[in-house]
């Protein structure tokens, strides 16, 4: 997947004018958020339920190495082969080695964001092994070579006509149709054929349960189950933070994940694997490989502020409430992760320098923080990234800011700390600003603040600021007490 995080403004500028996507974004996230609200009420105390999810994920981060070891031990005891990869390159290499050895001409894949992060598909293609995304939305996005539009619906913005053309060209569909159900059925037939004969299935992991060594996957379509049932070899890939302590924790997170993701009480299928198939079973994998991928996360872990990013369960709840995402959709975020959770994770994985707009294009409204079942404080992380960028932090790859900006804030802060400077500054700036004013209203300031003035006016700087009005105001005091005491009315 091409990384386009430095093209945020260009892509967002284009997407915001896409009336089709805008109509979509106006309706869908709000609809999911409304359903979420309704289905969370199945908990007698929804706030406690959310707080419990947050506590589980906090525990995971606090106990991460110990839980990973426990998971590995139990998974291996059930016959799974657990392999570790320091980075995307190593992880891709492991998958490639397995695929080569089993002579798989193609693989079928369940939706896995970490494999998008790894760029696994490109590596497989280079090797002459064709990877088929089998989640319908991922399949469409993959065939169209588009990044994901939404964490849950990667291709929901694609018009039906385009999907129809695509399926006729690439999925063996014979009769044109714009009925989503018919299109879905065409995809089913095409991919079913792949499932039938596949030698190697690749899945992600929603949760890796330390207590039992079990990997858990949530889905609605059934494609992940096919990847776990049809081929002789199953490869399931997880990033390190996917571990959870117990089965009971996994069940609670299953409820929260489903509610936040799609507004469902539970996804249509939840499948749990503890090792490969048993001796007498006639289907299921003879070998189960679980690949645990770091790819920068142990670095994130070392940062006491940033490490909360590892709590994310990829539910997409934040996307559904983000007012910025609701205008621009998933493409501008430029990589596998979009919306507020992408704004949290991508700068840490790619570096603050390559993700400059991701943590700045935010009003800090806090809707994401409020809904997060994992307890991530997105706005405070964005402020942290901005500060580290200003400071040119080496580990996080802060870039530093233009010297003019630095100069401005430095000068400004000294004026803030010394009110005579502040008041002097106001008196100097006021005539300059107010020469643009007509009748107390400024409609333009030439080349200054063009963005604001394109659609908005601004009041002129007051002829008398509050500071300058205070003397008179103070004299007008009703109680006659200049020391501002609160007396009896």
């Amino acid at each position: 997947m091409e990384i386009r995080t430095t093209l945020f403004n260009e892509i967002a500028g284009k997407e915001i004018r896409n009336t089709y996507a805008r109509a979509f974004l106006k309706a869908m996230p709000a609809a999911i958020a409304a359903r979420r609200e309704a289905v969370m009420s199945s908990f007698p105390d929804p706030d406690a339920a959310q707080a419990c999810g947050q506590a589980i994920r906090a525990e995971v981060v606090a106990r991460l190495p110990e839980l990973l070891e426990q998971f590995e031990q139990n998974a291996v005891a059930r016959g799974a082969k657990v392999l570790w990869a320091r980075d995307a390159h190593e992880a891709n290499g492991i998958v490639l080695a397995i695929a080569r050895e089993r002579k798989a001409p193609y693989v079928t894949k369940g939706k896995s964001m970490v494999t998008e992060e790894m760029g696994l598909n490109d590596v497989l293609v280079e090797e002459g092994i064709e990877p088929f995304e089998t989640d319908l939305g991922e399949f469409i996005a993959q065939q169209l070579k588009r990044p994901p539009f939404h964490i849950v619906g990667p291709a929901i913005n694609i018009p039906v006509e385009e999907v129809c053309d695509l399926f006729m060209e690439k999925a063996g569909m014979e009769e044109p149709t714009t009925d989503p159900v018919e299109l879905g059925y065409a995809a089913r037939l095409f991919l079913r054929n792949k499932f039938h004969h596949v030698a190697l299935g690749v899945t992600g992991v929603n949760m890796a349960v330390a207590e039992t060594g079990t990997i858990v996957n949530l889905e609605n379509e059934g494609n992940i189950r096919f990847n776990k049932s049809s081929p002789r070899t199953q490869v399931s890939i997880m990033s390190i933070e996917k571990v959870v302590p117990t089965m009971a924790d996994a069940m609670h997170l299953t409820r929260l994940l489903s509610r936040n993701c799609t507004g469902q009480a539970i996804s249509a299928y939840v499948s749990m694997d503890s090792g490969p198939k048993g001796g007498g079973e006639i289907d299921g994998p003879e070998e189960l490989f679980i690949i645990i991928v770091d790819n920068g996360r142990s670095e994130i872990y070392a940062d006491p502020t940033a490490r909360q990013a590892l709590r994310c369960i990829r539910c997409g709840g934040c996307l559904n409430l983000c007012p910025v995402y609701a205008k621009i959709g998933g493409y501008p975020y430029g990589w596998a992760y979009s919306g507020p959770m992408g704004q949290v994770l991508t700068p840490l994985l790619l570096g603050l320098d390559r993700a400059q707009d991701l943590y700045r294009a935010c009003t800090l409204c806090g809707s994401c923080r409020e809904v997060c079942p994992a307890g991530i404080d997105h706005p405070s992380l964005f402020l942290y990234y901005r500060a580290k960028d200003v400071e040119g932090d080496r580990r996080l790859r802060g870039k530093r800011r233009p010297w003019k900006e630095f100069g401005f804030f430095d000068l400004w802060s000294r004026a803030v700390a010394h009110s005579t400077l502040w008041n002097l500054g106001v008196r100097l700036v006021r005539p300059f600003v107010n020469r643009y004013s007509r009748g107390g209203v400024i409609t333009t300031m030439g080349k200054y603040f063009e963005g604001w003035f394109r659609t908005r006016n601004l009041p002129a700087i007051a002829e008398k600021t509050f500071h300058e009005r205070w003397k008179r105001l103070r004299r007008d005091t009703v109680s006659g007490d200049p020391d501002g005491r609160r007396g009896e009315p």
Binding site: V324, N457, P459
Partner: protein, 250 residues
């Protein structure tokens, strides 16, 4: 309601954008407080809470603002401000900014218990909802992000609005959706900001209300700035101006 002694010092914090662009809101705040029996202090050496620097990542610079503020307001019993984002900055961010210095940290933490947004102060601390306000017509309310989600204040302004004589309160569709100000965001990501404020104004028009009231000066500049250019017949008003009956709010 917290019971305060009868002689506590109530001090006013007037945000920088109110000082420069909307001083009438500051005046309205003073008139309103006096009407409910509070004659506030105003420390003339105050300037800005430091939010612009904080939001831009300039922590050292924001710290200077924080220390100046703490020094200035340190002796007051209560600080009241007609801005939720400034109150949030002081309560939430000052302790974080100053966490490496135990003395300043203690002072910041201690201060955070004594600073209130205006409507929160009037309703929760003074225990007053009837403030002598009046307005003939329908009024709706925009839930500013830092006030709603930062401070947990939502009920208080609406109670004050509802108690104004002649007012019929109508809900604002998508009331808690961000208006798109976000400080520097409004300029740097102008193309996104203007779509957000446009939708906020559409909600206002959809509500059919005669007037939109809000508690946050930044939101006011943004929304009223858009109204002034595109729908000049519609107005937005700061709650201080609305309650004090001083008209001009933006």
């Amino acid at each position: 309601m917290i019971r305060w002694g009868s002689m506590e010092k109530v001090s006013l914090f007037i945000p920088c954008i109110v000082d420069l662009f909307l001083p009438e809101i500051g005046e309205a705040t003073v008139h309103l407080l006096r009407r409910v029996g509070v004659d506030p202090l105003y420390h003339e050496a105050q300037t800005c809470c430091g939010q612009p620097a904080m939001n831009a990542g300039y922590r050292e610079q924001a710290k200077r603002a924080a220390k100046h503020f703490i020094d200035l307001f340190g002796d007051d019993d209560v600080i009241v401000s007609p801005s939720g984002s400034c109150v949030y900055m002081v309560k939430h961010h000052y302790p974080q900014l100053l966490r490496d210095d135990p003395v300043w940290l203690r002072r910041a933490e201690e201060l955070s218990g004594r600073i209130f947004e205006l409507s929160q102060y009037i309703v929760d601390i003074l225990g007053v909802e009837e403030v002598g306000a009046s307005f003939e017509g329908t009024v709706t309310y925009h839930e500013s992000c830092h006030i709603l989600r930062g401070l947990g204040v939502s009920d208080q302004p609406k109670r004050l609005i509802r108690r104004a004589e002649g007012v019929e309160f109508v809900p604002l569709p998508l009331a808690d959706m961000c208006c798109g100000f976000g400080g520097e965001f409004a300029e740097t990501y102008d193309y996104i900001s203007e779509e957000m404020v446009k939708e906020k104004v559409e909600s206002y028009l959809e509500s059919g209300a005669d007037l939109l009231v809000l508690c946050e000066p930044g939101c006011l500049l943004n929304i009223d700035g858009y109204l002034s250019r595109n729908h000049p017949e519609k107005k937005a008003l700061h709650i201080a101006a609305f309650l004090a009956g001083t008209g001009r709010g933006g």
